[in-house]
Amino acid sequence: MSIPPVLTLRGIRKAYPGVVALDGVDLTLQAGEVHVLLGENGAGKSTLMKVISGAVARDAGEILLDGAPVELRGPRHAQSLGLGIIYQEFNLIPHLSAGENIFLGREPRRAAGVIDQATLLDRAQQLLNNLGVAIDARTAVSRLSVAQQQMVEVAKALSLNARVLIMDEPTSALTEQEIRELFAAIERLKARGVALVYISHRMEELFAIGDRVTVLRDGRHVGTRLIRDTSLPELVRLMVGRDLKEQFPKQAAGAGDEALRVEGLSRAGLLHDVSFTLRRGEVVGIAGLMGSGRTELARAIFGADRLDAGKIFVRGHEQVIASPRAAIALGLGFLTEDRKHQGLVLGLSVQENTCLPSVSVFSRFGVMQPAREASATAQRIADLRIKTPGPHQRVFNLSGGNQQKVVLGKWLTTDADILIFDEPTRGIDVGAKVEIYQLINQLAARGAAILMISSELPEILGMSDRILVMQAGRLAAEFSAADATQEKILAAALGRAGLSAA
């Protein structure tokens, strides 16, 4: 191409004490392209993003903007050069309006230094309109949906005349419809010549939206391809450095005795008369849109939220589960959808997190027994292949996939045999996903009963023996693995609301 790329990175290197995060990475971004960045957790994607956005200083290599070398002095400097980033966790202030957030710190002012609110709202509204989204700039951010908040972030980056926009897992919390709207907005950005760096673990999205893809592995650049010239198996091979035999290594397990039965579970406005049975050795998938009551169902069974009505039978006996503690005592485990806020105490070590639900088991006469904790943790680190310098490492410093394995390790340590997995593979890479699938299979083969909530239909179809579909707090349909198709599940998940909207 004759015009110089918007941004060129050459031989970027960044080392932290003990790890080389990036080692000679090259990347070029052309105006108007969506450049996908792929790699397993810990491959160096986040570090590379931080280098581009000025949050991290590189040790070696060059950064060229429009062909001219630049030195990024910090995030604000990078922003002023048109390098914007939208993190997975948004940087918005909930009680301020969309417009105030867009211009936070750069508010247009009148002569006396007073904020010119009218101009601010006008300009914010124009930015939002240009993105093609129906958001009123005066609405408080806390009242916007996740997808709308993301658009506010995009508008904020555009208000800084971003020419390069990095999006980190932008679809992880969006519904199918919202993803389509996001893609439409991305197309408009491309048309305006913005270069986008797109990070996602959902492979099907890459083929839908990407133009080129760069794969990183262990901090090295392993290849750049045109999306239309590559294939899923090739990308997976580049990422993991080997062929993954099967993405869903499903083994059908013979269903055994009843493990969990719920009857008529209800919670005002959230759950309506939900009944089902889960057997030992069985994986039951729960599909449904965001907000259809899947997580609420899991929390209610686990004793985290109160039920208004309904009965829960564990191994055939009716139980009142008043708290998560009671649920754990009955052999239940709950892998939450949000590992950072609900699954882990990030400031504590791998060992302290792994043993947290089992503290009373690992203590005698009120004194902890560190040797038993250490041996259980060592076992989990080995079995789950958790990549950590040691059991005393803070989980804060682990990658997403390894953090998820620590959460899993918590429930293996309690010996839970009725496991509720809420989005078990959200935000983790293909290699770790397959490992988690294999683990689910092993658990089922050993007689555990597994309830798996997921928004990824291929995962639901690939892993479940039976599939339940929730819609507006009700069980809308049940399919056997053999009968289920994406279309049938989606139709049931959309329910009447979907029909009337169509």
Binding site: F302, S323, A329, L344, G347, L356, K410
Partner: protein, 315 residues
């Protein structure tokens, strides 16, 4: 643990300890009298009261809370115990009653916070005022004195040439360190302070332990009150004013994060000693108490500034 891990886990304490040693060296250079056994024991004895209260605050702060009522509980529990002593109740019984009273005040804080869902700042601010007023009402505003000689031993006695208050302080720290590192209660304090939601979903009985930690803090305030009453040979309803600030200062200098979820009592002990040494040294040098306040304030700020400077991740 390997040496490297020891350094990452206890590096902060080494730093505080280094600060204490430098401070001692400077004072020794300025005034030779500082580094005599009798003066050092004197410092330890003066530190004991703040140090004991600071243990309770360290627990509470690690759990993600704060307790402003410790100073008022020192006063109220003190006058309750002193009144019993005055009426010839046996010393051990009177002490137990005082400790129980402090524990009760603390539990009331804990119940308001965990079951009443009040922010800890508000609940303990209310208790701070109520316990202060309660002590004044109970005594009609007058000090309570006139105790058995045996009680005074708690201030003047020695065990193996070490003053009793210092022995009490060291015992409290040994037990507290053990509790924090090796009991479920200690582990739960870190989990609650680090991420309460994750702790609940891991089956931690959060409300029970949250109530208990304020009870423990009240109990330790009452224990400090026993030492104070013995030293002054009288209990005063206006005792303990601003003690909460000294205890918070010792905790923070010791490296416990006000955000909760991390901290250590070893650090707090060093923090309390830094404050004690500083006061003692400035007294020996004849620095006025007005200037002392300025210096202590500056040390608190400097300690935390250094802390953030070292913790800030490098770009």
């Amino acid at each position: 643990m390997k040496p490297r891990e020891l350094l990452t886990h206890y590096g902060r304490q080494f730093g505080t300890l280094a600060g204490l040693l430098v401070l001692c060296a400077v004072l020794w250079a300025l005034t030779p009298h500082f580094l005599t056994v009798s003066n050092l024991l004197n410092v330890a004895q003066q530190t004991a009261i703040n140090a004991v209260i600071a243990v309770g605050l360290t627990f509470v702060i690690i759990s993600g809370g704060i307790d402003l009522s410790v100073g008022s509980i020192v006063a109220f529990a003190g006058v309750v115990m002193a009144t019993l002593l005055q009426r010839a109740v046996p010393v051990p019984l009177a002490i137990l009653a005082g400790l129980g009273f402090g524990f009760g005040c603390g539990l009331a804080n804990g119940l308001l916070i965990s079951f009443g869902r009040l922010p800890p700042f508000i609940a303990t601010l209310g208790m701070m005022s109520m316990a202060r007023g309660g002590g004044l009402l109970f005594t009609d505003g007058r000090p309570v004195s006139g105790f058995d000689e045996g009680f005074r031993w708690l201030a003047t006695g020695e065990l193996l040439h070490v003053p009793v208050p210092v022995v009490v302080m060291l015992a409290v720290y040994a037990i507290a360190h053990f509790v924090l590192r090796l009991t479920p209660f200690g582990r739960y304090l870190f989990a609650m302070g680090g991420n309460e939601e994750a702790a609940v979903l891991s089956g931690v009985p959060v409300r029970f332990h949250k109530t208990l930690v304020y009870g423990v803090c009240g109990l330790l305030s009452a224990l400090a009150s026993v030492l104070l009453t013995a030293r002054l040979n009288s209990a005063q309803p206006i005792a303990g004013i601003n003690y909460e600030l000294d205890a918070i200062a010792a905790t923070v200098i010791g490296g416990t994060s006000l955000m909760g979820g991390q901290g250590s009592v070893v650090g707090t002990l060093i923090g309390a000693l830094i404050m004690g040494v500083l006061r003692n040294g400035l007294n020996l040098l004849g620095v006025s108490s007005f200037v002392q306040q300025v210096v202590i304030g500056a040390v608190i700020i400097l300690a935390v500034l250094l802390d953030t400077a070292f913790k800030r991740p490098k770009r």
